[in-house]
């Protein structure tokens, strides 16, 4: 049966009324949050942060926290690179055990000799070339599917970016743009065994970061991740430990407030406020915020994630950069000006990321075609093309 829209419409209407009230409360809270933000002492907050045991993610303040920085000159000649991926997960109802990763890549040159290259590279993985991550020191292995496949896809995107950098003209500034975040969130909270974490981090994403860092020594190359409509609350979390909110000298959340219910803790007044709400009131069009260091610990080393917020004129975006970019004023300014330029050229969203996505995207039609192709090729070789009865039932939709 199809969805009963009449029944669901009433439920949506009820929720919308509650959201309206919450939004009213949030706007009231936002005003006091802004006063708090503007009056906060970065040095005091940083000392308290360093000495506390906080139950949420609070970034490190580097210098100030409420300054804004205008965009410096945008280079006329530059290259922007982006990669994005899409995948078809392992499907036990399919006649062949496999997954497919489609990596879309974009290289756009601006300036005197403009040009572009837009490609996609679908890679099929089967039992023959790896459906598992194996431990070289034991017989242990981990099947690649679900969230793990998503993480591997991110690593493949970074590998594609490395290739693009090697192809790009090294005499011109290069911005490598990633959609989303540099933090491998998928690995956090997952109890993957050590050999899997090593494959994903040390031999995976960190290895790609190392290669990019090496390439950056011979050309003006910066890596940045662009988060559109960020829902981060890390800066708001900083304010949660401000003495005006958190009365304790050391913010030890579990010890001080662990017994209090949600909503009755002193810092709960900040619930619902996002970082972008603050910076939309601080940053003028084209300006960036101060830089903050994420305290999430994935042993990234010199690639530790730093971030700032950018008012693109269309939205407040979050830009994540590795430490080696943040520490280089020239590269930092480049991420600022070029991310802004890309956003302007792309009607509010970086054109390179947008086109990489278009190259990578797998539509429902593509997925169906892929399934048919697998069945046709297996059939051509007289191999059994069997599927589950459940899948057949879904296809036939008999009455």
């Amino acid at each position: 049966m199809s969805l009963d829209l009449h029944k669901i419409a009433l439920q949506i209407d009820n929720v919308a009324s509650r959201i309206q009230q919450k939004e009213f409360d949030r706007l009231l809270n936002l005003e006091s949050t802004l006063s708090l933000f503007n009056g906060a002492s970065p040095s005091e907050l940083e000392i308290k942060r360093a000495n506390s045991n906080i139950g949420f993610l609070v970034p490190r303040i580097l210098e100030s926290m409420s300054s804004s920085y205008p965009c410096q000159d945008t280079p006329k000649d530059y290259t922007v690179l982006a990669a994005d991926g899409s995948h078809i997960d392992v499907d036990r109802h399919l006649a062949m055990q496999c997954y497919l990763i489609n990596i879309g890549t974009v290289l756009i040159k601006y300036g005197e000799n403009p040009g572009a290259s837009l490609t996609n590279d679908p890679q099929l993985h089967t039992n023959e070339n790896g459906l598992k991550i194996t431990d070289e020191h034991s017989s242990r292995h981990q099947d690649i599917e679900g969230p793990l496949l998503g993480i591997l896809r991110t690593i493949e995107e970074m590998k594609a970016i490395i290739k693009l950098v090697e192809e790009a003209d090294k005499s011109k500034p290069i911005l490598a743009l990633v959609d989303g975040t540099l933090i491998l969130w998928g690995i956090i909270g997952q109890a993957y065994p050590g050999f899997v974490r090593k494959a994903l981090l040390e031999n995976g994403i960190i290895d790609t970061f190392n290669q990019l860092r090496d390439l950056s020594r011979t050309r003006k190359l910066a890596l940045a991740a662009y988060v559109s409509l960020p829902r981060s609350t890390e800066i708001v979390n900083l304010l949660r430990i401000d003495p005006a909110v958190c009365p304790y000298e050391e913010a030890n959340c579990e010890a001080n407030c662990g017994s209090l219910s949600f909503g009755s803790r002193p810092c709960d007044s900040l619930t619902g406020i996002l970082d972008r709400d603050i910076f939309s009131n601080i940053l003028a069009e084209g300006e960036r915020s101060d830089i903050f260091a994420s305290t999430i610990d994935l042993h990234y080393g010199e690639h530790a994630v730093y971030f700032y917020y950018l008012n693109t004129g269309s939205e407040i975006a979050r830009i994540e950069i590795p430490k080696w970019v943040a520490n280089d004023q020239e590269l930092l300014a480049m991420t600022h000006s070029l991310a802004l330029d890309q956003s302007n050229l792309g009607h509010g969203y970086p054109v390179a990321i947008s086109e990489a996505h278009e190259q990578a995207v797998l539509t429902m039609g593509d997925r169906e075609e892929f399934r048919s192709l697998v069945e046709r090729y297996l059939g051509n070789k007289n191999l059994p093309v069997y599927t589950s009865l459940k899948n057949q039932s879904k296809k036939l939709k008999w009455l």
Partner: protein
Amino acid sequence: MENKDNRIGEVVEATTTSFISQCYKLYNSPHLGSLIKTGGPYPTYGIVYNIITQGIDPSRKPVVRGINSSSEEEVYRLNPQLEHLLRTDFYSVSIGYIQGDNIIYHLPPAPPPIYSFVQKCDGLDLINFSSRLEFIKILCSSGIPALDEVISAFIRNLADSQQDKENFLINVGKELIYAFPGDFRKMESILQKVLS
């Protein structure tokens, strides 16, 4: 013999009577009424009757980009990816084919295969092709849109390559009388366009 320099695109859709070609370069289509030639087992002559430029992905509509640009060229310079996201196709009506050393003024036995190379015809091709005028009848009965405009543009192209232009146009006029018997106004309209 194919001249590689004249190659401008490939056939991407073909029927018994017409075919669509995609240009290698955006906007690099032969003009309306141009004579073109395909490869394949029955190299086919076609006349361009429609040119269309659009997004490669039909689900993505072009949007305005130049409000702050000083020129149309700047729009493309600032958006180099557009060359790869737009495509120019041209539609051609089939009016003959090559068999051995001869030009046959009938529809080809089979349409050109997909991905057949398409090339612009040079002056010598035009002279050879127009040595006989039977193509006029096929063209006039093809039912393509803006028929008068396409015929007149094609005849103008052919006339420019003739040594005796006046005699050529007289002969064309005679063929048009046969093609549109009793339809003096149509003939007049075509000839006026040819001579303008």
